[in-house]
């Protein structure tokens, strides 16, 4: 490799990457410098050798397979998106049912049920007395305002737990 300070520009000159002004300078220098002229010839020789090794272009069958692979991917991606949208839809419906059911159960268990007709799930005749479930659970009479007298605390709890069976009436009678 030459010690000439211009050799660092030879590659860019060979690759056509110099500005017009620098290119003129390089051409003048190479015509006067044997070392740089030899290095430039080595660069050109290497490029000629590599040009012979340029890969052959894409074949028709390769291009066909490429298009097919893309079409298959696009189709499967489309199917996946449809399945995903269906999944999201079903999940939303299931979640809605769950929320509504929970709200209904909560309302039936602890809400303002009238007590007429057969007991509905979660309701009990104990709840109909206006007595709080906490008092029923521990077997203590509810002495708060509005509470009505009930029957035996244990029976009340049992009735409350099994839900819906006939329990004491508003006056505490079985």
């Amino acid at each position: 490799m030459s010690d000439c300070p211009f050799t660092s520009l030879l590659q860019a000159y060979h690759d056509g990457q110099l500005s017009a002004g620098r290119k003129r300078e390089a051409e003048e220098h190479v015509s006067a410098c044997a070392a740089c002229a030899a290095e430039l010839e080595r660069l050109r020789d290497l490029s000629r050798t590599l040009a012979d090794a340029r890969p052959e272009p894409i074949r028709p069958d390769e291009l066909g397979r490429l298009h097919e692979a893309i079409a298959t991917y696009a189709r499967e991606a489309g199917d996946d998106r449809r399945i995903l949208r269906l999944g999201f839809g079903l999940s939303a419906v299931a979640a809605s049912i769950l929320i509504i059911s929970t709200a209904w159960l909560y309302d039936g268990q602890f809400g303002k049920s009238s007590g007429h007709g057969p007991a509905s799930p979660g309701s009990s005749s104990v709840a109909n007395t206006g007595e709080s479930w906490e008092h029923v659970a521990v077997g203590k009479p509810d002495t708060s305002a509005g509470a009505r007298p009930t029957g035996t605390a244990r029976n009340d709890v049992t009735n409350w737990m099994i839900g819906g069976t006939k329990g004491p009436d508003a006056h505490g009678n079985p």
């Binding site: 590659q11 050798t49 590599l50 890969p55 696009a74």
Partner: protein
Amino acid sequence: MEPGDLELVRQAARGDGAAFHALVDRHAAELMRLAVSLSATRADAEDVLQETFIGAYQGLSRFDARASVKTWLKRILVRQAARHWNRSKRSRSALPIEAADTSPAPRDAGGGGAVRVDQRIDVAAVVKMLAPEHREVIVMREFDQMSYAEIAEVLQIPIGTVESRLHRARADLRTKLEAYTTD
């Protein structure tokens, strides 16, 4: 008038499959050449090319046009090729350098150190013996005639780094080629 690359990408992003296939037809040849140069075998190159275009398809909506479509595709391809190369590295045996006989190739009568390579020597295989970062710049410059700026944009490195890698790649290539032609 034919739509430009950017318009095809936009159409494809809106779900126009034909637009994406048109993009493939436009760039497949050049990308395949690059893939072959950066892959161990042509079959690997075909896989790399498919992965490149599928990757591009997945990223259509995210393409921001800061680089050209061609640069964007080449960037994806170089990354896929590197990934593929590393994956197959362990299972890959030494690349074949075919030579019908061991007699030295004739030297250029003009002297000056010029190297003539026996036609039976697979120059492409020698290129594949280069370090990946050297192989990338040399094939983009010599096979695709890309400018330093274009190479820098694809590889996302400074132009100065492109120049220094090219310089080292050429020196290394010359050494390796000479090794097959000297006594």
